[in-house]
C-alpha cells in the first residue's frame, strides 16, 4: 500500500512538473473548464427566471446539484481522465507493453499515471459553488453530514471511473474505443437533473438505476438538502462496489486478450 502511495506521488510530481513547463496550456485549460462550469450555472439562472421549481428543486438546490456534478467530474478528470484515454490509445498502438513491464498492478499503473492540475484547481471552484449554494439555502450541515457527503462524492467518482475503465477496456476486443468520450459527456447531462424529473419508466430504469449517472449526484446533493437517507446512500455505496468489481473483472479479462502489436 505504501509502495503504491510512493508510486502515485512520483506520478503526481511528474505531472506537476510537466504543467509548470507548459504554463500557457495550463492557463487555457483552466479557463476552458471554468467557462463550461459557468455555462451550466448561467443556464440554471436563466431557466429560474421563468420557473419556480424543477421537479421540486428550487434554484439554489439546483445549483447545489450541478455543483456536485461538477465536483465529481473535476475529480475524475483531475485524477484519471488523461490516463484512461491514453490507455485506450496505447492498447491500439501496442505501447501498452510499457505498463505490463512495471512492478505493480497494471490497472493501477495505467489509470493513475497522469494528473491534470487544471481540473484539480477547478474542483476548488466547484466546491465553492456547492458551499455558496448551501449558504444561500441557509443549510447548516453537521460534520457527520459533510463527511457523508464526501463519501458519497467519492462513490460517485468510483462509479464514473469504473464506467470509463470498463468502456475503454472494450478496446482490448474492438481495438478502437473512439466515440466513448462523446457518449460520456452526453451522459453527464443527465447527472445535472433531479431524479424526480425522470417520470418515464424507460428513462428512469436506464439513467437512474442501470447507469447510475443520476443517483451519483442526487444522493449527495439530497443528503445536504433533504437530510440523510440510509437506503439511498447504502444503494450508492453498493453500486460503487459492484461497478468497481465489474471494471476490474472486464479489465483483467481484456488484459488476457492483449496481444501487443509488432512494429
Amino acid at each position: 500500500m505504501l509502495n503504491y502511495a510512493k508510486i502515485w506521488s512520483a506520478s503526481a510530481r511528474y505531472s506537476i512538473t510537466r504543467t509548470l513547463m507548459f504554463r500557457g496550456d495550463f492557463f487555457v485549460w483552466s479557463l476552458v473548464e471554468l467557462f463550461w462550469m459557468s455555462v451550466n450555472i448561467l443556464t440554471i439562472t436563466v431557466i429560474y427566471e421563468h420557473t419556480q421549481s424543477i421537479a421540486g428543486w428550487t434554484k439554489y438546490q439546483m445549483v447545489l446539484l450541478v455543483g456536485t456534478s461538477m465536483l465529481i467530474q473535476r475529480f475524475l478528470m483531475g485524477f484519471f481522465w488523461s490516463s484512461i484515454f491514453e490507455m485506450g490509445r496505447n492498447i491500439r498502438s501496442g505501447n501498452f507493453d510499457f505498463y505490463l513491464a512495471q512492478p505493480g498492478n497494471v490497472m493501477f499503473m495505467a489509470t493513475t499515471r497522469k494528473l491534470d492540475p487544471d481540473s484539480l484547481l477547478n474542483s476548488l471552484v466547484a466546491a465553492a459553488v456547492v458551499i455558496y449554494a448551501a449558504r444561500q439555502l441557509g443549510l447548516d450541515p453537521s460534520a457527520g453530514q459533510i463527511a457523508l457527503y464526501a463519501l458519497m462524492v467519492l462513490c460517485g467518482v468510483v462509479i464514473h471511473y469504473s464506467i470509463l475503465v470498463l468502456s475503454i477496456s472494450l478496446a482490448f476486443w474492438l481495438t478502437s474505443a473512439q466515440g466513448i468520450e462523446g457518449l460520456y459527456f452526453t451522459l453527464t447531462e443527465f447527472s445535472r437533473l433531479p431524479r424526480a424529473a425522470f417520470t418515464g419508466i424507460a428513462t428512469q430504469m436506464l439513467f437512474v438505476w442501470l447507469l447510475p449517472v443520476v443517483m451519483i449526484t442526487n444522493v449527495p446533493a439530497s443528503l445536504l438538502v433533504q437530510g440523510f437517507d440510509l437506503t439511498l446512500s447504502a444503494w450508492l455505496f453498493g453500486s460503487a462496489l459492484v461497478w468497481f468489481a465489474a471494471a476490474v473483472f472486464v479489465f483483467n479479462r481484456g488484459l488476457r486478450r492483449y496481444t501487443s502489436a509488432s512494429s
Binding site: 443556464t43 436563466v46 431557466i47 427566471e49 421563468h50 420557473t51 424543477i54 452526453t186 424529473a197
Partner: protein, 271 residues
C-alpha cells in the same frame, strides 16, 4: 468564369464521396444526439411544470421544437472538425500543395464543408424519424410557409459564419502548435450565446440586446428562431439579416487577414 465554378464543383463532388464514407459515423453521432434531446425534454418538461405553464411566453411544445430544430440545423450547418482538419493540413505541410495551384484555399475548404454538411444533415434525419413517434407529441412547428422563406437565407449566412469561425481557428495553427484549447473555449461561448443551452429570448432584456449584436447569435439561434416562429416580426428579421451580413463580411475579412499574415510565417519544408 464558369471554369472557376467547375473547379469547386469537382471539389464539392469529391467531398461528397469522401463524406458518404463516414455516413455511419454521422448516424451514430445522430443517435447520441437523441440522448441529448432526452435530457432536454426531461429538463424543460420539469421546468414548465414548475412555472405557470409557459416558458417565457412559449409552450413546452414550442420549446422542445426549438431544440429539435437546433439539432437538425447543427447537422446541416455547424462546423464539426473543420478547424482541426485545417490545423492538421497546416502543421503537416499538406497546405503547401495549395500554394502552388490556382485554387483558393478558403473556397476549396468551404466546398468540402458544404458537401460534408449535406451528407451529415441528410443522415441525421434517420435517427430523428425513428424517434418521431415519441417526439411527435412535443412538436409544434408554425403552420406558415413564410418561416421557410425567411429562415433559409438566415440559415445560409449562418453556415458561412460557422465555417468562417472554424477556419479562423484552423489558421491559428500558423502561430500556435495546439489549437484545441482555443476551440473548446470558444465552443463554451458559442454553446451559450448561440442558444444551445436555452432559447436566447429567455435571457433578461438587456442581455438579449447584447447577444443580438454578437456573431454567436447568428451562428445558430437566428435561423432556428425564425423556423420555429419565435421571431416573427419582419422588421426584426430584416434588421437581423443586416447584422448577420455585417458579421459575414467581418469574418471573411479576418480570414483573409489571418491567411496572408499566416503565410508569411509559414515555412514549407520537404516536398
Amino acid at each position: 468564369m464558369f471554369a472557376i465554378f467547375d473547379k469547386y464543383r469537382q471539389v464539392f463532388l469529391t467531398g461528397l464521396q469522401s463524406n458518404i464514407v463516414y455516413r455511419f459515423n454521422f448516424a451514430v453521432r445522430g443517435f447520441f444526439s437523441l440522448f441529448h434531446l432526452a435530457a432536454v425534454v426531461i429538463l424543460w418538461s420539469a421546468a414548465s411544470l414548475g412555472g405557470s405553464g409557459g416558458l417565457g411566453g412559449f409552450s413546452l411544445g414550442q420549446t422542445i421544437t426549438y431544440f429539435v430544430t437546433l439539432l437538425i440545423l447543427q447537422f446541416f450547418i455547424s462546423a464539426f472538425n473543420e478547424d482541426y482538419q485545417i490545423s492538421e493540413e497546416i502543421r503537416n505541410g499538406l497546405i503547401n500543395q495549395f500554394l502552388l495551384k490556382p485554387i483558393n484555399y478558403f473556397a476549396y475548404r468551404f466546398s468540402i464543408f458544404v458537401a460534408a454538411r449535406l451528407v451529415s444533415g441528410l443522415v441525421v434525419i434517420v435517427p430523428l424519424l425513428i424517434a418521431l413517434p415519441v417526439l411527435r407529441e412535443y412538436l409544434a412547428f408554425p403552420h406558415d410557409y413564410r418561416v421557410l422563406l425567411f429562415g433559409l437565407p438566415a440559415m445560409a449566412m449562418s453556415a458561412v459564419i460557422q465555417f468562417s469561425i472554424a477556419y479562423c481557428f484552423g489558421l491559428l495553427s500558423f502561430w500556435f502548435l495546439e489549437i484545441q484549447g482555443f476551440v473548446i473555449l470558444s465552443m463554451a461561448l458559442e454553446t451559450l450565446l448561440g442558444g444551445q443551452m436555452f432559447p436566447l429570448d429567455l435571457l433578461p432584456e438587456w442581455a438579449y440586446a447584447i447577444a443580438r449584436c454578437l456573431p454567436f447569435y447568428y451562428q445558430m439561434y437566428f435561423p432556428a428562431a425564425i423556423f420555429t416562429g419565435r421571431l416573427t416580426d419582419p422588421t426584426l428579421i430584416f434588421q437581423g439579416y443586416g447584422i448577420q451580413a455585417a458579421w459575414v463580411i467581418a469574418l471573411l475579412l479576418v480570414n483573409q487577414l489571418l491567411w496572408s499574415r499566416g503565410l508569411r510565417r509559414h515555412t514549407a519544408v520537404g516536398g
